[in-house]
Symmetry: C2
Subunit: 387 residues, 2 copies
């Protein structure tokens, strides 16, 4: 195989963006051969982009069975990611799913099991893992430069969305349509990077959500979550779509200093000796370990969506290690599910969370929903630079 | 009265610092005429500083009854602040108490009542209210420039203390000696500024404390508190004495923008129109209110402890309004008490808090204490630049 024949399932905001760079041959080892959408108008759209070189299917199953593709990207609404990925694996296809991996961990766990059995290459569109800032942070932590972690605080409140965003699709920001709000739609990247850079998942958390606090929606648009890790460290995740201009600041402190990522910049304050050692040995009352503010080079460029697609294609053809293995999608989703559950129960939630209980409560929300959107239009929004 | 004859009760870390600037006549309208300490060695110390111009008493009562003072500063251990202030008011003296106002709100409420009945001038040593940064923030909020507040986050983790600090006095960081840890000793300024700049107290909170997490002490040295305000805003207060270098960053967001105070600098991002208005009127899906990063002049100098003393003296002589009225000390203390109580109960605490319940639980901690300090020395630490 000298190139991968690729299909895209779902030609919405993200699927159409992926289709465009593939059609323009920006991923040389991949060729877009087929797309699928349940909306027949998308047939015209793909023809306008690629002439007759890309086949159009109106069901995912017909695309999977067509023999025209080796691999598929799943870019449908959140609920169907796991189900469609499972079908594709069963038909022997490699799969790249859009984020989130799914809506609830039970379905994603099943997808992961089928993926593992299939032996196919399974990726997830965590394009922010290609950002050199987070790669450098992960490096500083995994190499021990920061020492044992003590605290992580991510304030990610710059996901501002006005009401018209939510009105742009009837499925948006509903329990039945997306299975959540800012946690399900905007935050999957940060929830993933939070656990990926630190290589730690909390053992329990306590979350506080505002549901429809700033918008006429039924799901959460404002969240504060407090977490506790196995090693004693604590953390905070603060997010909102109701604040402007908002903040994106990730602070991590450890026994050997502190890192802050803010305004596209990583700053590292390094302690000359470990704080735990200083604490034991220093006799002067007031005082603290000598601290150096270090200029750490952060090299490379963020290759984004295309970078993830290229890496996945290269894994299929050459066995290149995946930057974002699909089975890791469950990790951030688990945090999101646990935050919902904690807010619903007004109580602690242990991690791994009780998947059956979460699904039961989610279904209650879906069934109890009386929410009717005053939908203004169902159009493709221009998402360049936003996702 | 052309000047105030002043006494200081308690010649420890803070009392001796106050004595020094008064002896050097740096507050021209005040004259230090008497001090008191239960440690007779302090008699020599005051003589070495001032010759025979300052009388020494070995009990607060004898100082209060001496007729040598019009006004007293109370700089004793925390528990006795309220009790001694009450005695001083009852003897017709003006009072300036060191922070915190007391250890539990019940005793402080009694002090406030006696102060009000006395008609005397009652101040509290909230010296950080003299910092022009926080004065400017208070101005921006009270004048409506920030609009209705949505979120307050104070990360104040740069109160690093090594074990030897705690070992420097047997009373330090014990329930019986200080009635708390970082909240009782280091944070009273930030707890006060948090409520003073925003002019809001939460209606309820949920706090998570590490007791003796980073040190061999029985009280809290690590706290994360989540709060909810009456208007729907939420907030966080994060503090520790176990992190280095730590952070001091106060972020406040409102309907008209955001302010961050960090690294001795105030930054204001101003929205051209209200976010709530934009949310209603904007039809474009993605988009947000136009935002201006504004250079706001912050003028004036932080006059610190001496500034608070001067202002209180001027209030006594000339009726100048107090920058830090004593009866406001209860506001920050209530937050600190509520954080302890929430952590002890592992539950929400409403504000105003149940003062009887708090006192009952505090007394349980004191009685259950089996903590024995390996005290290295009981010396006066040099606190310049630290409090």
């Amino acid at each position: 195989m000298s190139f991968v024949r690729m299909g895209i399932v779902g030609i919405g905001n993200m699927g159409s963006a992926h289709a465009k760079y593939l059609i323009q041959n920006e991923v040389p080892e991949a060729q877009l051969t087929a797309v699928c959408d349940t909306n027949p108008e998308k047939r015209e759209w793909i023809r306008s982009q690629s002439g007759d070189s890309v086949q159009f299917f109106d069901t995912p199953e017909s695309l999977f069975e067509s023999g025209s593709v080796d691999a598929v990207m799943i870019a449908t609404p959140h609920y169907s990611h796991s189900e469609l990925a499972i079908k594709a694996f069963r038909r022997g296809l490699h799969v790249l799913v859009e984020k989130p991996a799914g809506v609830y961990t039970k379905q994603v766990r099943e997808m992961n099991e089928v993926a593992a059995q299939s032996g196919k290459v399974f990726g997830i569109m965590f394009n922010q893992r290609t950002n050199p800032l987070y790669q450098k942070l992960r490096d500083l932590i995994s190499s021990g430069e920061l020492g044992d972690l003590k605290r992580t605080i991510w304030i990610i409140t710059n996901w501002y969305r006005p009401q018209s965003y939510y009105n742009s699709g009837g499925w948006r920001a509903t329990w039945a349509g997306e299975g959540g709000g800012v946690l399900a739609n905007q935050d999957p990247h940060q929830l993933d990077l939070w656990q990926w850079t630190t290589n730690m998942l909390p053992k329990r958390l306590r979350a506080f959500c505002g549901f429809g606090k700033y918008h006429d929606i039924e799901v959460e648009d404002d969240v504060t979550a407090y977490v506790e890790y196995e090693n004693g460290a604590t953390g905070l995740f603060v997010t909102s779509t109701g604040e402007a201009p908002g903040t994106n600041r990730f602070e991590i402190s450890g026994d050997r200093g502190k890192v802050v990522i803010e305004d596209g910049k990583l700053t590292f304050w390094r302690l000359r000796i470990s704080e735990r050692q200083f604490n034991k040995e220093y006799n002067g009352g007031f005082g603290q370990p000598e601290c150096w503010k270090c200029d750490v080079p952060v090299r490379g460029v963020e290759t984004g969506h295309k970078g993830i697609t290229e890496n996945w294609v290269s894994a299929i053809l050459h066995g290149t290690p995946l930057l974002a293995p699909g089975e890791e999608g469950i990790r951030g989703l688990q945090l999101s599910n646990a935050m919902h559950l904690s807010a619903w129960l007004d109580n602690w939630v242990e991690i791994p969370l009780d998947e059956e209980l979460y699904l039961e409560k989610l279904n209650e929300k879906i069934e109890a929903s009386t929410f009717v959107k005053k939908s203004q239009c169902a159009k493709i929004l221009d998402v360049r630079g936003t996702f």
